[in-house]
Symmetry: C3
Subunit: 342 residues, 3 copies
């Protein structure tokens, strides 16, 4: 279905499971925001605060919740969660290149590799001994797949991804370029004068429908495996250290860093640039705001933060210097309260 760039509204209603109000023969050739849409395009209203843009919107049709029906002139595709319908529509209008099925002549595939049906192996990709590749798997140019790695059906690796030996990917895992799955966890024992390497004997197990961004690293476990649950979405530049367990459907935003042996529950959101120190537990449905450091386990769902709020540096500095006196300030205040009480 992808790579077709024109649909009638009637067809879109069917494909997006929406109710059509208006001209079913109207042709849609693309997607756009309410603000930028031109005739021929389909837009959507997700955030109600944009509802005032409906009237001036040039789109030929709009994905919309039933309750905004009356505020919206023209063609409509009515659906319960317009943003989800919009997401599905992006798949229909997606024009990313289709893979060439087959093994590129410049790829280096060990004779012991097992290849599924309908597989695409890009130029200069390298598959080491005993790799197992499922059906409909796409491996981009320049990828390196280490010995004994196992990629289930429908996986897609963009160019220059590295999987170390014995890494296991579930179905439909997508990994973006320059990411590295299964490098050694960072483990050393200090003998009094130097760090002795703890070889990392575990691996990484990734569930189904996981997406991993670019330049992201997930380390192999020391003794047990590092585990990423089904449906987890991980952005770019994320570091997940050895022996972490990330619960199903959790979202980890760009530049987050999760130290070793951290357990994160299901349906959590780790904000951009957030961090977690090692060996802590975070329960289900926790949200951590951007650049927050989680330094203790979180036993209760909710949203958590650290840090201060931006200010002009001159003003910030005066306050930051006072932070260094905060314990003293608190004690002096207590003293005054005590003396006043008397």
């Amino acid at each position: 279905m992808a790579h077709k760039t024109k649909y009638t509204l009637a067809k879109l209603a069917e494909l997006l499971d929406a109710k059509l109000t208006g001209d079913g023969q109207c042709e849609i050739t693309g997607l756009a925001t309410l603000k930028n849409a031109k005739p021929g395009e389909l837009s959507f209203l997700s955030n109600p605060s944009y509802a005032d843009q409906l009237k001036s919107c040039q789109a030929s049709a709009i994905l919309i919740d039933e309750k905004f029906l009356d505020s919206c002139p023209g063609n409509k595709l009515v659906t319960s969660i317009p943003y989800v319908a919009f997401a599905k529509a992006t798949a229909l209008f997606n024009q990313s290149p289709l893979p060439s099925i087959g093994v590129h002549e410049s790829a280096s595939v060990d004779t012991s590799v097992v290849l599924g049906k309908n597989v695409s192996i890009g130029a200069n990709a390298v598959l080491a001994a005993n790799v197992i590749i499922g059906n409909d798997v796409e491996i981009g140019a320049g990828c390196y797949i280490g010995e004994g790695a196992n990629l289930s059906d429908g996986c897609k690796l963009h160019g220059n991804v590295t999987l170390y030996h014995r890494v296991i990917l579930g179905r439909n895992v997508e990994i973006h370029s320059a990411s590295v799955i299964g490098a050694d966890g960072f483990g050393f024992a200090f003998d009094g004068s130097k760090s002795v390497k703890i070889h990392q004997l575990g691996t990484v197990r990734i569930g189904d429908n996981v997406e991993i961004g670019a330049c992201t690293t997930i380390d192999r476990g020391a003794l047990d495996d590092t585990e990423i649950g089904n449906g987890v979405k991980i952005d770019n530049q994320v570091q997940i250290a050895h022996n972490c367990k990330i619960g199903e459907y959790t979202i980890i935003c760009g530049c987050a860093g999760i130290a070793g042996s951290v357990t994160i529950g299901k349906y959590c959101i780790m904000g951009g640039g957030s961090g977690a120190v090692g060996h802590i537990n975070i329960v289900d449905k926790v949200q951590v705001s951007a650049m927050t450091l989680v330094s203790q386990s979180i036993p209760e769902p909710g949203m958590y933060s650290t840090g201060t709020i931006q200010a002009k540096t001159s003003q910030w500095k005066r306050n930051a210097i006072r932070f260094q006196q905060l314990d003293s300030i608190a004690k002096r205040l207590k003293e005054i309260e005590n003396s006043t009480d008397k």
Copy 2:
């Protein structure tokens, strides 16, 4: 001009557009700081606080502002901004390897690719269908250039860079190794039980004279494009999410993370490890200090900060615990003030 390693001072004065005071036949074979310079080397005074090193400096000549002329014995190249003249001199003494013109026999170049004049395509580089390469472009070993990407004249990609499909580079863009331009923006719609991928239909447009460090990621836009202005300089390990607009000549230091749909003005500096949350605007000439989180739009030029100042952990902890009581402290103080007023 590069790769010559010896110049007379007279020639350097000409090349650097500086005024010579001293022996024009003196030969210069390298560059060094005031402190480390040896005879035969050229040094520079940029920061006035190093002026006291002028007298003991062993350099054969010094790039200097007119106002320090009298404090400086020996040969001088007088120029209005010595640091800029020094920068130009580094180009003259640069000995990085010159590219081999032509397409390496191991590169995989699709038959539909258009190559300009004087192009160098490194070993095992892969150029997909419909890529357009301008004149004097250098593509390092192991790079992957996705379908329909367009590289203007003078671009230089170091080894193992990845450009996704349809990415557009202006003239003289330099990108360091393991960086990824055009990977999917991190966009999902939550349907109540799982994240539905929003395919990223835009691309990335990069202006002229942009430099991008190593292991940096710039994501393609969801509907519109991500845009990087002319003359922007981006360091290593930076993440720029989908639909950001980065204004001309802005500098983004290492490890900074910019969330989606952020607009940053011209001539800004985002400090190392700084962050910006999504959908905010930062005007021209804003500086953000290291590891500062910008969580609200910045409507005024100036320097901004968040965080606290380093302290011994034991002392820091006492204050950080009091931070948790800060609202209560402020209220109790107000109460005392009120009671005192009476």
Copy 3:
């Protein structure tokens, strides 16, 4: 010795330099934590707080300090630092793939390259002119080694590593995938309207027994070299800017970012996500906690921190707003104290 997966306890005692108490003929086939160990496995007690797990542990033997001898039933390997003995045991049970000695037919090795004995060059690796490779060096698939780089005996580069020209690695340096050593430092001189590049004429010198994680970047120096001391261990996603000097045996955890010209002493630990601003000095034996920014030189050993402690966002916000009033709070408190004193 690696890749054998079964040892008698007597043999292990010999190999790990431990004193055997129990059945020397007992066969050990793997390693596990006290909690997860099954019969046939060797475990270890390092952290005394786990001592209560000794009695129920299913392991066939335990690496243990003499002082816990009586709390531990069954076979024991007694050693002064059990964690170090455990680290050594991981090397014995390590099953990472062994390299194929020789140059893969798809690798591109310049005719001027000097190769030591017992070298493994992976598929599609590229070695530029005048590279020097010591004995027992392993270069993974897809690596790019720039002109004149020098790798001493025993170095191991995993797949897709990039070394720029003239980078120098000491003995037994291990570098994980997608890391980039020797890219240009981030140096520009501002000429009033644009940034003029300062070409980076130095290189990177890495000592012996250094390990570098995945997606880590270490930039080449501007004039002098960037230097990493012997025995330094660097995790994933770390950025080390130009002209840093990192002292011997220092540990840099994941996502840390060290700005230009920073000197860090010996036996330091930079926590995960920590940062250091440019041109500062940190003495030996300093520990910096996770996500701490070091913005001033540290002249004394000890542990240092910045930031605040996690709280529910609603509560955090109330306190963070008060932080903006902290200087005023301090002044008002002082005023009350003054008036009370009267």
